[in-house]
Symmetry: C2
Subunit: 438 residues, 2 copies
């Protein structure tokens, strides 16, 4: 879809911020993701920041000092607020104006370098906050590999339900329990029924899992009763972040029929602090999933040549696990999986169009989870349930520990990045969560 | 649970507002429900109102004139805001203070009658708005009669799933598409697959339905990671209103596996404008559902003697239908069903406790739908799908028209009220919705 490249995508461009020139860093000048931060111990209000290397541009300070001259006044006002919603509400153009102006400020040789330096805050001195006040959070199920792996466990005879290749399956999640990466997550209690037991018991989940996803934030919304055509869908996509859809599999198994997951999921969902804009992702657009012959075409409202050609985004995501014992013994975290959003059966644009196809109104800052991102290979399975299956396999850790599901003290870290020959790596940062006891 | 009666429940009390003395009115002085209104054509901001007969007390005006002296300052500040959230956040005591003070102002013989008269606005001159900024909307499935009727259609061999008598089944709905009663609802488009057809088509739903429910609003919330014990649950219940969970049955049938209803529901959910407080409902408390012998007891976290004794609320709800032709021919609306919240398998307190049992945080103003309220008899079935079954029965209307599902131009009106010998009727008002073409 939106693949137009401009000077902000030039791989030769570098910033005068030295840490932004580190090879394989997450936040080079070509990225400029948005977040919300608060300096520690100063009692200051939260404010919008833009990541550059190991620094954060204090956006309201930069605006206050007149460094964003040329950017529309309403965009400057929105950029001085306490969450990204106001910027998102102004649409993708607002983010583009800010990104372009910040690029000019931060590029090597920028005339305003000295003034801009005064607006930098070292990332290590701040707390990163939930960047968006999410009105509604929807979680999809867009990986056919994930759906097939999970379906095989529950319905070996028909892993993939008949609707899967027609309907971008999704459900509403919980907005109140969204937390920013770094927030510890308490093991939930819930009803659990063993297959053999006649009745359920109420207790801490014994099957705590993560799900590695990408979250997509809505820029401008649509009015109730109106659709978003596929050709317009990406105009409504502000950007993406990492998302961990924590799941209690035993609670889920017992509660989810007939209305879907509820308490198995809504105790916490973690999102990473930085929202990488759709513009920054432009060099990493790839074709939509290549449907094998025999698969139906998407229905017309979900089909366009442009989406087929470039609706995918090649973001790779990784899951890393560290146990309390591993940390005590200075054993490095281990990578459990690596997969890519490009392998999803539905593109993000298709998710947006489907969501609004019945007239449902999306609002600025609404969050759409991709669903667990699993690829075709075993090491691309984005949750423990898929990795260990139902047969009782375990994951062996370097300490001799084993895991089927998460134990108290385990820390799960998601990482994500776009990498492609001839481009500069664009990182999503990380999304970390430590499991606390029930 | 909370059954303490005080002078505000005295059936002999009357207001000096004449229309509040009308027998069988919805809004006598014993009710005093909260809402948000805007006077038509004046360009004024929305403000909180309290219904009394055919009038509305302009709460911020009353507060501005010092008529709520004695009410805590923070409650007065919250009462002057533009939605009920701030009042809700202060907990049930805040609503009680306001209700008691307003009762004193509006009671016959009140010394401040003249000043209070200046704060009354005729209901017919205002637009009623969505009373609450709902953060998260959850819909339950608490009627065993509804679950059994629906289950029989989909799974005649096992209508009720094994979890039903243990788990208060619920799922997350859409907050953005909540609309206040009176708002017309557009027939949604969606994927529909006939049983015989090999593939779905995208088009207007042919099976538009209503669901007659009660919505419960949360007062003060709970912090993420903490529970709400059953003994405390009603402290978190601000009050109730009517709720119409519009549903497209054909879209639902095709999309709902495995993650539950999504586009079949999220195109619109209507709530009535007035929120009747938990205090006003005190005279209408009844025992929880009388589980037949053989049914399991609720698990301990969902069981208390107090809840068994008085956790139910005897609110009757009715569904009325009027077609375009009926209105053109001056034929009165027909009542399709009448049922009571008292027949639900789970009490509202149990829904609240279950919702937070995994540490999920509820926030002030969150909305919990009861699920379709159906009773054991045929004329107590709270949605068309139950009334017409799958066998192809139709509803015959006085004009000779027939209905299996809603047609364009149909208007559905929910009504609700508490009535009991020796008490004054407490009405919920109505929740109206006209179906517009796709």
């Amino acid at each position: 879809m939106t693949r137009t490249l401009d000077h902000t995508h030039d791989p030769a461009a570098v910033s005068w911020v030295e840490s932004a020139r580190r090879p394989n860093g997450d936040f080079p000048i070509q990225n400029l993701p948005f977040g919300v931060f608060q300096r520690r111990g100063r009692g200051e209000a939260a404010r919008i920041g833009v990541a550059i290397g190991d620094e954060i541009v204090d956006l309201s300070r930069a605006i206050g000092q007149g460094l964003l001259a040329g950017v529309d006044q309403e965009v400057q006002a929105a950029g001085s607020s306490r969450s990204l919603n106001a910027v998102m509400a102004l649409g993708r153009d607002a983010a583009r104006q800010l990104r372009h102006r910040l690029f000019a400020l931060l590029e090597q040789g920028a005339p305003d370098q000295q003034a801009a330096t005064g607006c930098l805050v070292p990332a290590e001195t701040v707390d990163l906050l939930l960047p968006v006040d999410v009105g509604d959070y929807t979680d999809f199920y867009a990986s056919i590999h994930h759906a097939t792996n999970i379906g095989t466990m529950f319905r070996p005879e028909s892993p993939l339900l008949p609707n899967y290749k027609f309907v971008p399956i999704g459900y509403h999640g919980r907005a109140s329990s969204l937390v920013v990466g770094g927030t510890a997550v308490r093991r939930p209690m819930g009803q659990i029924k063993d297959d053999q037991a006649p009745t359920p018991v109420f207790g801490p989940t014994r099957a705590l899992d993560y799900e590695c996803e990408i979250g997509a934030y809505i820029a401008s919304g649509n009015a109730l009763g109106t659709e978003i055509r596929l050709a317009d869908a990406e105009k409504h996509l502000f950007g993406i972040s990492l998302l961990n859809d924590w799941s209690a599999r035993d609670i889920q198994r017992w509660e989810y029929q007939p209305l879907g997951p509820f308490l198995a999921k809504n105790f916490a969902t973690s999102v990473s602090a930085w929202v990488v804009t759709t513009d920054a992702l432009a060099p990493f657009r790839v074709p939509a999933f290549d449907r094998p012959s025999g698969d139906p075409d998407p229905l017309p409202y979900l089909f366009s040549e442009a989406n087929q050609r470039g609706g995918g985004i090649d973001v790779s995501v990784e899951v890393w696990l560290s146990t309390a014992r591993m940390r005590a013994e200075n054993v490095a975290a281990v990578r459990l999986s690596r997969s890519s959003l490009a392998t999803m059966y539905w593109t993000t644009a298709q998710l947006i169009t489907h969501h609004a196809s019945n007239g449902c109104n999306l609002r600025p800052g609404d969050l759409l989870g991709s669903g667990t991102i699993s690829g075709p290979s075993r090491d691309a399975r984005g949750c423990l349930q898929e990795l260990v299956g139902r047969a009782g396999e375990s994951i062996n850790l370097p300490t001799g520990e084993q895991r089927r599901f998460l134990m108290d003290g385990d820390e799960v870290t998601l990482r994500g990045a776009c990498e492609r020959a001839g481009t500069v790596r664009i990182g999503l940062g990380e999304c970390r969560g430590l499991v606390l006891p029930a």
